[in-house]
Amino acid sequence: MIYQTLISSIAVGVGGAANITFTSIPATYTDLTLILSARTVTGLGQETMRVQLNADTGNNYSTRTLYTDTVNSVSSTSYTSIPYFLNSGWLPGDNNTASVFGNIEITFPNYTSSANKLVQFNSTSETNLASATGILAVAAGTWANSAAITSIKLYGDYGQNFARYTNAYLYGTLKGTGGATAS
């Protein structure tokens, strides 16, 4: 059984928010999981969400994404994003179905390790419009840094706000049984 503890959550209110950040993340867990229910206000289709760790803006990130969508015949395509952030997948925008939010789950295994960090992404950008694609993506990322992850910043690559009612939940997971850390 996996034991997860809710560390913190962020809810976006009226007016939206350009970015959201968890800071001072405790180092007391084995893994972190961030679950996001979100939408952006972009008018340019779906917006990819970027992840920046410990305010690091350097060339230290790598993400490889595999995705498929609901309109094009492409069954799967992979690409590598530019290396100044992690690319977590797509979120619906203003020209997607109204009030429908996308979902992204991000796992940071061994986030306090002194080795480079691996990151796993699963995302669904939902839409019911025939003219727009809903994108399902999985991605693997790395952050070349030996420091424990203490902050996570989320923001869209189109520079648009997260919509009101976007919610982000940060969980901690302990390895072992009964929620107790085991070696």
């Binding site: 962020i10 976006v12 350009a18 959201i20 950040t21 800071t23 405790p26 340019l44 189109y158 520079g159």
Partner: protein, 76 residues
């Protein structure tokens, strides 16, 4: 109202909504302009691809030679 960001301190449990600085707003504007440029480029590329596909199909049906770009598109 200026654009804002939300910062949550997991240690204290305090959530702050902070107005963006001038440089952060400038970064957002740059990202938005880049997104519009990228979108226009994607749409132009898709339109060109669709035109090329129609041309390639017509030439195939008429038994005419294809251009290299048309052949590349068909062979995918």
């Amino acid at each position: 109202m200026a654009p804002t960001k939300i910062i949550h301190n997991c240690e204290t449990g305090v959530t702050e909504e902070v107005e963006l600085t001038a440089s952060e707003i400038a970064e957002l504007e740059t990202a938005r302009e880049q997104a519009e440029t990228d979108q226009a480029n994607r749409e132009a590329a898709e339109a060109a691809r669709a035109t090329l596909k129609v041309s390639a199909k017509a030439k195939l049906l008429a038994g005419q030679p294809l251009t290299e770009a048309e052949a590349d598109l068909l062979l995918g």
